[in-house]
Symmetry: C2
Subunit: 278 residues, 2 copies
């Protein structure tokens, strides 16, 4: 039974820390993913769900599903219910452009999203959060935009269906319907709430505190009038690494208050670092 | 001698409270404007400055100057220096559309701005903060936009030079160069800083905390590429009521770090309420 406010699931765990900016494990360096599922309040992606994907798409599930790289979810079953009834959904994933080129870890959500797009034949929006990286990494606006453009080339190379894919940079696209949804979300989230979810302090600049609504609103189809205007409020499925869960716990808390479906999530473990554990 | 960080001037005064959301005086209901000038750290607009306006514009100073309705300023002398040297400046004022029509108090900055535009022949930007009122007054996005449009009609009726005036609603205009400047400002302002200036608490929603950069950036000409692109970083003069000073103390603190002039201010007292003091 899902609690009403998922943002309450988050309690500080001293032995492992996982949030959008920091992933650190206890001794040995291994993340305890079962504990993370408990802590975040998401669900394990079990074999019966993988079998259902197999049946619905009539193709073998992606190796990242079979091998448990994507291991957790929120409401993925609802997405499959909707799909089975012929209702539409869309995919949303993103990239914070902090470096020149994508490495293998960065590619995991994109490779998996490409499979989901092919298997379910659905639209996809890809958010390049150049504003986020400008704010967190102390990059200039211009450098963040340059990295977003470089990263877009690597993302395009994954082979998405160009007739169903919209890639945008926040610096280019924020405004209009997107900005209106940002304001609607911001009104629903107190400073105490974001401090609880993300651990902000008084020394953090207000750009960081302003950012969560920006990552939230691609979950709402009305943020993309040129894609979804006139469509019947399609559901949103977000493939991502599990460190992004805090943003979407917040988003799921707000969505029904604004008349939207909660976005569903399908979440991966982290790519193992190329280092020797002794 | 101006202190480096003007935002430090603000100390809580228990006997009178003046900020963008609240104006309340001690017993008797009269604001002590001399005390306010000390508290905010701005300057009194004295007769020699008014005489200088007379000389420079070759026309009688506006009655709001002669009668002390506009009574305080920050760097207004620098604007006059620039004007005397033939350098450009522009005017920026605004309106938070919280009601259907403007009353006499609301009209004061617009009537005075119209005089400044006529006297100095300068461009003017007018910001309609429909996003602010949506966030503070619990209006819907649609209702805030409707009020902005209604208010724009009253503002236009003041008779601005249409070839030199740009009126915009935040919901329409935020994005692009404007949004980039919002992010640049937000990076320079900590949560502690805005809490000190505006008195936010943990129960305030993050829309309020995100807003100060939106009111700040019309002070920077690069926020309006269609007006000022290629122009030589013109100075900005802001006519407003003195309750808006906190926004621009923050803006003036940030401006030099981003390579802009500090905006200058010319500030009015409050329109007396139509009530009997006993």
């Amino acid at each position: 039974m899902e609690k009403k406010d998922e943002t309450q699931h988050h309690e500080p765990e001293l032995d492992q820390v996982v949030n959008p900016w920091q992933v650190s494990a206890k001794d040995g360096g291994k993340i305890d993913y079962d504990k993370l599922i408990d802590q975040f309040g998401c669900q394990r992606l079990d074999q019966s769900l993988i079998d259902r994907v197999h049946r619905l798409t009539s193709r073998p599930p992606h190796v990242f599903l079979r091998r448990g790289v994507f291991f957790a979810h929120r409401d993925f079953n609802d997405i499959l219910d909707a799909y089975e009834k012929g209702q539409k959904f869309y995919l949303y994933t993103g990239r914070g452009p902090s470096s020149e080129a994508l490495h293998l870890g960065h590619l995991i959500p994109f490779m998996f999203t490409k499979y989901l797009q092919d298997a379910f034949k659905v639209p996809l929006v890809i958010q390049l959060t150049d504003d986020e990286k400008c704010m967190w990494k102390n990059l200039s606006v211009e450098e963040s935009q340059r990295l977003a453009r470089e990263n877009a080339k690597d993302i395009i190379a994954c082979g998405f269906d160009i007739s169903r894919t919209f890639i945008f940079s926040d610096f280019d696209y924020v405004g209009g319907a997107f900005y209106k949804n940002m304001v609607r979300v911001a009104k629903c989230v107190t400073l105490n709430k974001v401090t609880g979810i993300f651990g902000f302090s008084g020394e953090d600049h207000i750009g960081k505190i302003s950012f969560p609504p920006i990552q939230a609103v691609p979950s709402f189809p009305s943020s993309f009038p040129h894609l979804f205007q006139g469509k019947d409020n399609p559901r949103c499925l977000i493939p991502c690494a599990i460190d992004q869960d805090p943003y979407f716990r917040m988003t799921r808390d707000v969505a029904p208050r604004l008349g939207y479906h909660k976005p569903a999530l399908i979440e991966s473990s982290f790519f193992p670092a190329l280092q020797v554990y002794v």
